[in-house]
Symmetry: C2
Subunit: 457 residues, 2 copies
């Protein structure tokens, strides 16, 4: 009995061309990470449910994909499974039904790894991780249930040099990808804390941060409404508005922010951080923009925060972000592990490169030369030459059977193969291959011994 | 509240050195696949449960990790969830509780992909796929619940040239990995079919195959016992024994097998296949061994089958295998899709390379140069030079803070960094860095403008 197959909602197959383009992005990023002394980590797709639950808020918990325990149908397990199922219906999970789940991000698995291995790691520990994560979000355009995250973090150090290095990583990657018009925006959470201090009291910090985080999406008026809804009065909101409206060049912004905050100690620290990073991150094409309206939703950031905007000609949100946090591993029993990390939005970077046509042409070529199959005797000779070609590092195929020439040409065309190598009985006796460049139609007779050199890319 | 974190049974974290070694293996294989004109495919970790169930036998179905549907705690879902749960207790799965599962291998997802996209693919379609799979097997030494599979298949062609190409891929990969003593064993399922014909009747083919498949593990006497248990009589078993005892060089084996089978038509076809592949796969270091006892358990193979044995000095089973099948996609409603595929056992290849010390030395080095941090002013100069180094393609780090020298040396040592670059106030004024080679202790003064060249790997 046959079935019409389909894919789970929100998941994707990546065919050859897409894999190549994604690999191009990921390899570029990986190479830069390595060049900055970051080391690769891979963690399992499955984590114990305990490790994940309660780390992403109530909404997050619901979006974690849980794995059904195996062997529930064994009679001796029935009673415990029944009891467990009642708990699930009541909105709770339990080990008797599900004790494992798919990772939801790369940060918690990283924290777990550091907590389990902190005795043997060299600190500061610079790790990068490029793996898929899974979320039971409602699928919609640009939002998937399986997607790659691509993170770099330095833990075990409070030095701002780490922030500087992460900014340089962003710059190096985007320049290598050809994305000249990117903008790297930075702010410090300490300025938001200072804003809370001078406007509404420190305990309003997260309220203010959450409201400001929506500025791009909903605009200033709605942010003010939201602040009012969160209990801030007019005078307080006016201060926040003054803060949000600071503009101009980076230098002008620094003058204005110093004036706004005056002697506030928290603000001074934040400004110092920003100035340190701003002064160190220099070089051709670096585009660091101070953006005091940058807030980032997550509540664990405590210092510098980052966000990368795609070049203005592409209408797409941020293509990267991150920041400093004070405590990576406390939840796993290892205190005092500060760090700073960034992340690349691979799916969006893909869309940006596609829209701006920045993928290298060569990525659509797979095989460089198709050796035509003109019969068993000829293809035995052709195959020997093909193997030499491959050993020399050039990709090639022999057509699988002695079909009509037009069929073989069609195959080359469909696979975007640039060269046809034709070896018939005459070519065998003359020890010379006929090489046809398929885009131009140009034909060249190439002696067998020169063939590998001729076709080398 | 803190918790002591742990990993799910049968799963592994891969730290930096292990990831680098694994990537070395996978990149070597990927590069060879590409050179042979194979194209990459990636499918989602989750498949619809329908797609997977019933494809791996009853035992396999039980080992599939099923994913609990989300939102089961919503009141309106309670009734259907309860009904579904009763079915699970009865050993059945149902969409109301679980409709997705983690992929169990790469073959069924590939078949699903081909069935869904056969209208737009170019055939013969040569694809490779390197992704993890998950099985709820009992964990034991060398057997994991998450592990990588690494497959290459050609579908849509019956040509034996595909078998030839796959043999060449094995050879090229193992030579590149330095595994000179590998053995590529081949056989044809047609010879096993012929053996069934001349000994016990064609319908005993799978019984005979399954028994022969155990020869390596249990020995000839136990295989004969098993054959007797499966209803074969003494004369039949004697024929099978004659078949199994064929030995000598490849040429001697061919003489003996022809003699054994005489005019049997099925055997003639099998021998023709083997001779064709054997005659085409030649070249320095190729080690193709005819092995008529090779059976391979899976019942979908119909022609040539492969198995790769690690060099004899390593006691480990096969490190690769595959074969020809007639029908990849029939179960998904697309008939007539023959193909042939191979697979690399990545975990075992890792163990073999480790045991024979074949991993390149360079894999344990991450960062090439550590720039010492001797204060803010000095490290600003050092950071500029470090950035030049990185842009030139060499990896480097600046120590994160101005700690004592011995602490910075210790960090370099722990990370196996070969060069220390020391830039103090004197070096800044003289525009010359002091470069210390850490294994030998040799020191060199290098002018700033020559530093990137000096440290280039």
């Amino acid at each position: 009995m046959s079935q019409k197959p389909s894919l789970p909602q929100g998941t994707r197959d990546f065919g050859p061309e897409v894999v190549r383009k994604r690999q191009y992005i990921l390899n570029t990023i990986r190479t830069v990470f390595e060049r900055f002394g970051f080391q690769p980590l891979e963690t399992p797709a499955m984590e114990n449910l305990d490790t994940l639950m309660g780390k992403y808020g109530e909404e997050g918990d619901k979006l974690i994909f849980k794995i059904l325990n195996n062997g529930l149908d064994r009679p001796e397990k029935e009673a415990s499974a029944r009891a467990a199922f009642e708990k699930v219906l009541g909105g709770k999970s339990t080990k008797d039904l599900t004790e494992r789940a798919l990772r939801y991000d790369l940060t918690i698995p990283f924290a777990r790894y550091v907590a389990m291995n902190h005795g043997s790691l060299t600190f500061p520990f610079r790790r990068y991780q490029v793996q898929p994560v899974w979320r039971a979000d409602r699928p919609q355009k640009g939002r998937y249930r399986e997607f790659y995250q691509c993170d770099a973090d330095v833990v075990g150090s409070r030095s701002l040099m780490n922030e500087v290095d992460l900014c340089s990583i962003y710059h190096t990657v985007f320049i290598q990808l050809g994305l000249k018009g990117y903008e790297l925006r930075i702010n410090s959470r300490k300025l938001l804390a200072a804003l809370a201090e001078i406007s509404g009291g420190a305990e309003k910090m997260m309220d203010i941060t959450i409201a400001i985080d929506k500025l791009d999406k909903i605009g200033l008026d709605k942010v003010k409404e939201e602040l009012a809804g969160r209990g801030l009065n007019e005078a307080q909101i006016a201060t926040i508005q003054r803060y949000l409206e600071i503009g101009g060049s980076n230098e002008e912004k620094l003058v204005a922010i110093k004036e706004l905050f005056g002697d506030n100690e928290t603000a001074k620290k934040g400004i110092e951080e920003i100035e340190f990073v701003g002064n160190m991150v220099t070089g051709e094409g670096v585009n660091l923009v101070l953006d005091f309206t940058l807030a980032r939703g997550l509540n664990y950031y405590t210092g510098i925060i980052f966000e990368v905007k795609a070049p203005a000609e592409v209408k797409i949100g941020s293509i990267g972000g991150g920041g400093r946090y004070d405590d990576l591993t406390g939840l796993f029993g290892v205190p005092d592990m500060p760090g700073v990390g960034i992340s690349f939005g691979v799916d969006r970077i893909y869309d940006v490169l596609e829209e701006l046509r920045l993928f290298p042409e060569a990525l659509t070529q797979s095989t460089r030369a198709l050796f035509f199959n003109l019969g068993d005797a000829e293809s035995r000779v052709a195959y020997g030459l093909l193997q030499e070609l491959r050993m020399a590092g050039t990709s090639g195929e022999l057509y699988h059977e002695a079909s009509r020439m037009d069929k073989q040409f069609k195959y080359a065309e469909k696979k975007h193969i640039p060269y046809a190598v034709i070896i018939g009985s005459r070519e065998v006796s003359e020890k010379t291959a006929l090489v046809k460049e398929l885009t131009t139609g140009k034909q060249t007779s190439v002696p067998f011994e020169d063939l590998a050199g001729f076709l080398k890319s």
